[in-house]
Every structure is written in C-alpha cells, then in structure tokens.
C-alpha cells in the first residue's frame, strides 16, 4: 500500500497527487513514469513522474476514465494498492546548448522535471505551454521558474498568444534555432507540433503514450513503430525521435479499447463498483 500525501484540483478535471513511494522517488529521473493500480480490482495505468520530493512522487493527470476518476477521488491519507517505478528510459539530458520544451494540455506535467535537468546540464531552456483556454492551463508558475523564458498559448486567446504552440515554436526555429526540442502532449498535438521542427533538422523528442499493462517489457501491449521498427514504449521509450514515429499507428492503437472503456465508466457510474456512484 502506498499513501496519498496530498491531492488537489489543478484545473478543470486535472488533478495533482503526491504519493509516498520511496523506491520510486529515490531513483526517478526526468522523463520516466510509474504504473499504479488503485485497488484489487483496478487496472494498471502509467502516469509520468512529474515531480519528486523526498520519499514522494507527484503525478498530474486528467480524469478521463475509470482509473483516473478513481484516482481523482482519493484524498490525503488514502491508499493506493500498487505503485511501481521508475519505468522507462530517462530523457536524453546532456549539454545541447539551447532547448525548447513544448507542452500541450496535461502533457505540460512532464516538462518542469525535464527543464530542471536540462538547466543543470548547462542548457538554456525556453518553455512553450499551451491549453484550450486559460482555465485549463497548468504549472505556469513552476515552468516560469524552471525556464529562462516562458511562452503561453491558448486556442481561444483567453490568455497568452492565441493559437497553437506550433506557432511560436516555428518562429523560434526561424529566428534562433534551438539544438533540441521536446514536444509532449496528446498524440495529435505531438504529431503536428513536432512536424514544425522537421524541415529545420532539429533533434526533437516526443513522449509516447500507448496502452500499457506491465510497463516492464513483458507483454508488448505498448508497441509503437519508430523508424520502421517495432519498439516497446515502456522499456525502449517512452521518449523517441519525433521525426521517426508512426503517429497514426499510435493513435489507432490508443483506440483499442474505446468500447470497453465506455462500458467500464458506465458500470462505475451506475454504482456497479459497489461505491454507490460516489466517483
């Protein structure tokens, strides 16, 4: 059992939870994730490690389905059945020179820890964070602190620059091309945004989020195709060279269980879980 140390709502439907898991926190590096299972009937789901403090790790997530809704309902002192990690290869952090980190939606959660690691390796870091609107934007202060410069975009223009993060990224590539770029967010956002750096030949990383089970390389559920080769994202990734990723396959495989996910939510909302519909 692993204890929830604190839990709060960050933005509409986006939650921040700190979990006590020393075996994870002591060994975690930028870009890695954990897999958790809330209760005995629960699914194993992967979440990025978005912060470390002593024996605790932080996850930031959007409540989109059964497991993330259950997680969102947990309060300080509640227990999570299983937490394993850190999993996956750490981000490729070394001295590049200048780096740009682009985050979309809940993908922004991955960035501060990478930004800090890059700064420690002597890089200058520009952050670009985008959300649909002002109320959905997360971690602005933390990113401001971690980066040398922070650019904000919203789709509806309610805050920062109106439009997608791809806009300012393109401008930077033209005016002061960076040495490395990270783009993390929903698959479609990563596909489109990382396309911007391609003509400039700039090294670009994306963090892939296929459906996982064990997260240790023994099931192959998480397979993705990179440079024509099949890879297991949980052990070979989750970060890969953006310009070699087959995003269409990723998006297709993410839809593997759409009908079942709907069924599961309906089951839990109707109180089938025995909790009387409290989450």
């Amino acid at each position: 059992m692993y204890q929830v140390k604190s839990a709060r709502l960050l933005a509409e439907n986006v939650y921040e939870t700190w979990i006590e898991a020393p075996h994870v926190s002591r060994n975690a590096e930028a870009g890695q994730f954990l897999v958790l299972r809330i209760d005995d009937e629960g699914e194993r789901i992967p979440l990025t490690i978005s912060g470390v403090d002593g024996d605790c790790v932080r996850v930031i997530f959007m409540a989109v389905g059964t497991t993330t809704e259950k997680l969102a309902a947990l309060k300080t002192g509640d227990a999570i059945h299983d937490v394993v990690g850190p999993l996956g290869q750490p981000s490729e952090v070394h001295h590049f020179g200048s780096c740009v980190l682009v985050g979309g939606g809940v993908g922004i959660a991955c960035l501060p820890i990478i930004a800090k690691a890059l700064k420690e390796s002597g890089n200058s870091v520009i952050g670009i964070i985008g959300a649909r609107n002002k109320d959905l934007l997360i971690l602005e202060d933390e990113m401001k602190e971690a980066c040398d410069e922070l650019i904000i975009t919203t789709d509806d223009g309610s805050y920062g620059i109106k439009g997608f993060a791809a806009g300012p990224l393109k401008e930077i590539c033209e005016s002061r091309p960076p040495d490395a770029v990270w783009v993390i967010g929903p698959a479609i956002m990563m596909k489109v945004t990382s396309g911007v750096t391609k003509p400039f030949g700039i090294k670009t990383f994306v963090s892939l989020n296929p459906v996982m089970v064990d997260g240790t390389g023994m099931c192959g559920s998480c397979r993705v195709v990179v440079n024509g080769e099949t890879k297991f994202a949980c052990v070979d990734g989750p970060e890969f060279d953006a310009h070699q990723v087959d995003f269409d396959l990723l998006m297709s495989r993410q839809r593997f269980y759409h009908p079942e996910e709907k069924e599961s939510r309906e089951h839990h909302h109707s109180g089938g879980c025995g909790c009387g519909g409290h989450h």
């Binding site: 060994n27 299983d82 990690g85 023994m218 099949t230 089938g272």
Partner: protein, 447 residues
C-alpha cells in the same frame, strides 16, 4: 482423476481436473513395484524419492509422504499439476512399458492438496546467519532458491516487478489448470520461512544495480518473459496480442470478469492462436472460455506439438479447431484485425529437434476470419537487467550464461530458471534454483 465435462467447463475458469480421493490414491500407490533402481526418480529433474513417498501413501501416512516430497520439492501442488509427467517421472516408470505408469503427478498433487487442507508443517530452518541474499524474480526459480536459502538460515529478499508474486504461475498459467489459491498457499509457505517478498520492485529501476550488488550474493531468476512476434505484416493491428499480454490481462488482471475488474480484453468472436506449446493451448482455452470460436494454427503436425499431452487433449475436447501443418503469412485488416492469411506446410526431413522441418507449399494460401489473433510463438529473457550489470554474458537467444553450478560470469551473481535456459518448465527452473542455492551456501561455507 476425473475431468469435469468439456461442455460444462468451457463456461467457467474452475479447475478441469478434480483430483483423486484418498482411496484412489492408496489403490494407485499399491501398484508400485518399489523398483531397486527406480527409473521414475531418474526422470524427475529434482530427483524426488518417488517409491519412498508411494510407500507412505500405501500405509495411509500422508503426512510422512508429503514430507518426503518436500525434501526435494517445495512446490508439489504446482508440480503435480503442471509437470510434463509423460516425458519425466511417468515417462520413465517401468510399469509404463507394458501398461499404465503410476500416476505420480496426480498422487503428488493429492498429497499437497491433502496437506493444505490438514495444516501445513513448515520445515525447520537452520540457525540464522548474517549473509543477506537478494533474489530477482518470484517465479518458481526465485521461490525455490529463496526457500532453500532461508532453510539454511540466510536472510533472503525476493524482488518482484509485478504487483503479485509467482511469475508465470500467476500471470501465465490459467486458473483452470492451476488455481491461484494453490499458488498463493505455496508462496505463503515460502514467506513463513522468513523470506521477504517485495513486489512492485523492478530491479535495475526501483532497485538500482549498485544497491543490488550490496547484497552478499544475488540470484537472478527473472524468467523468459520477452514475447516474440513473428515479424509478419499486420502485427500491430488492433486485436493482435502476444500470448503474454492476453494471458496477463485475464490471469493477473481478471479481464474475464470485466467490468467488475477494470482491465479490458477483447472477448468472443473468431480467435486465431498461433503456436503449439503450453502457452498456445492456454491462450486458446482462455479465449474459448470467454465465448470465442477458436482456431489454433501450428506449422507442424499435431504429434509434434511441444505442449503437455493432456492439455492438447483437453483443448480438443473443448472444441478448439486445430489447423496443423499451416503457417500464417500476413494478418489482414484496416486498423482492426479481420483475418489471417495462412499457407499450408510440407513436412520435410527431421531437423535438430528431431521434428520434421516445414516448408510452405506455394499457392496453398487461404484466409481465416479473425477478430483477435494471439501469437504464442515463444519468449526469451528480458534483457533489461542483464544489460545493466557489467560483466554478465548473454548467449544465443539472449540466455544468461551460467555454468553447471548456476554461476554467472560475475562473482557472487548466480542465475536459475528460464533466464538461463530460455523458456522451459517449472520443474527445470526449480531444479536449477536448488543447484544455484546450494552453490551460494557452499560459497559462504568455503566448500
């Protein structure tokens, strides 16, 4: 040795074989000739004193009988159920030459189940010693090595990456062949010897290599869990599983009871399973129990299948269609699987394994409709940890190099089970684990 009828059992996950009664056990044990040089013992990879325990069964002293087995085998309820007895103990039994060999597996299982019901006596451990031993992996190899070392007084910690201990016993072999409560009870016995099992710890990640190396000795028992894919077109379509994934979703995560359990799996429809080993049989029979129409595609003949004989037989009874001498060439579909293209195979000269090698017959292609395809064509050792430890040597197929004493190429690091042999059997993994544990003990006793 009554099996539940196929029509009934395909609707549930309860055990197929109901086991034997005490009376049946005694009658069966009476048939034993008590051979002076028992061939059966030669056939058992851990050398159980089989005539010895049979004699106690005949005397109805079941407590002493199970005691004899436990001298050589800590997990009898498991081995009695899953050992390929026909090529091991029972395959060698002298009575098998003219008639039926003694049902050694069934008797072993009977005793273990009897003990579980009548109270387990935990074997005494030797005096505590100061050395700390780390074991990586909680499959049959890790559990056996842990039990041996704990009995010798060592302080033993097992690290397991998954949330439950047991390795393939818990995530691979289904409930209807090996009930999870049986596995849990045998793991509990290992714990009662004082072994600490730390689940959710992936060594190399949650336990850094330096920390692992701080133990006085290490046994790597990480198994062969890396699934192989055929490398044919269409393998990444929705609906294509490795057997490991399919079985893990059901056995470990209980996807058969979705949505009560949260983990989904595709159920029903047409399922094509590729392979002819235990893993393929298990996948086919699990799919069948979730309402699917199952076709098993195997490139050689039925008699060449490496699965336990009884599993092949049970699969047939349960209505699994066997398409032998057939090999898949492509998986078809757009986004989601719709079918598999297969080609018939011509059986040719015998290969190294003594089985005929198979060559495709041009023009014999046909398409089988499929909603789910499960590839059960083999597993190899997961390289994650092995690659991280400097000095460890990997051989062909990624197996970790060990000598006959279970020693790797790095001092104080030993290995046992599938990680060293490639995918093999429960009892071979246990046999190797006993050897490795004994080497560890000798290292500290200066022998």
């Amino acid at each position: 040795m009554a099996d539940r009828s196929a029509e009934v059992r395909i609707n549930d996950f309860s055990e197929v074989d109901c086991g034997i009664s005490a009376e049946e056990a005694v009658i069966e044990a009476e048939r034993c000739l008590r051979c002076k040089k028992p061939a059966c013992v030669e056939g058992c990879p851990v050398g159980i004193d089989i005539p010895g325990f049979l004699k106690y069964i005949e005397e109805e002293d079941f407590r002493s009988a199970i005691g004899i087995i436990k001298n050589s085998n800590m997990l009898p309820a498991i081995c009695g159920r899953v050992c390929p007895q026909e090529v091991q103990c029972e395959g060698e039994c002298i009575l098998g030459v003219k008639g039926k060999p003694i049902a050694i597996g069934a008797l072993e299982r009977f005793l273990a189940d009897w003990e579980r019901e009548h109270g387990v006596t935990v074997p005494e451990s030797k005096e505590k010693r100061k050395e700390r031993i780390a074991i990586v992996g909680s499959g049959p190899a890790g559990l056996t090595a842990a039990a041996e070392l704990a009995r010798n007084g060592f302080s033993v910690t097992i690290f397991e990456a998954l949330h439950a201990a047991g390795g393939v016993l818990i995530y691979g072999i289904p409930e209807f062949r090996l009930p999870k409560k049986v596995v849990a009870a045998e793991i509990d016995e290992v714990k009662r010897l004082g072994v600490l099992i730390r689940t959710n710890h992936l060594v190399g990640r949650s336990v850094p290599v330096e920390e692992l190396l701080s133990y006085d000795a290490i046994i790597i028992a990480t198994g062969a869990g890396l699934p192989a894919f055929m490398g044919i077109p269409g393998e990444n379509l929705i609906g294509v599983y490795s057997a490991n994934e399919f079985l893990t979703r059901v056995n470990l995560m209980h996807a058969n009871a979705f949505p009560q359990y949260d983990t989904p799996v595709k159920r029903g429809g047409n399922v094509v399973v590729i392979g002819g080993g235990n893993v393929a049989m298990d996948s086919a029979r699990v799919a069948r129990r979730m309402g699917a129409d199952v076709t098993l595609v195997y490139r050689r003949r039925q008699e060449d299948m490496p699965a336990r004989l009884v599993e092949v037989h049970h699969a047939e009874e349960e209505g699994i269609r066997f398409l032998t001498c057939t090999n898949p060439t492509r998986i078809l579909g757009e986004g989601t699987v719709t079918g598999v293209e297969v080609v018939s195979m011509d059986m040719c000269e015998l290969d190294d394994s003594g089985r005929p090698s198979a060559k495709p017959i041009p023009g014999s292609e046909q398409i089988i409709p499929a909603d789910v395809v499960i590839e059960a064509i083999g597993q190899s050792p997961n390289p994650l940890l092995i690659r991280m430890i400097e000095g460890l040597v990997r051989e062909k197929k990624g197996n970790l190099k060990v000598d006959e004493k279970g020693r790797t190429t790095v001092p104080k690091i030993f290995a046992a089970g599938d990680v060293a042999t490639g995918a093999a059997t429960v009892i071979l993994a246990m046999g190797a684990a006993k050897v490795a544990a004994e080497s560890v003990r000798k290292m500290f006793d200066g022998e």
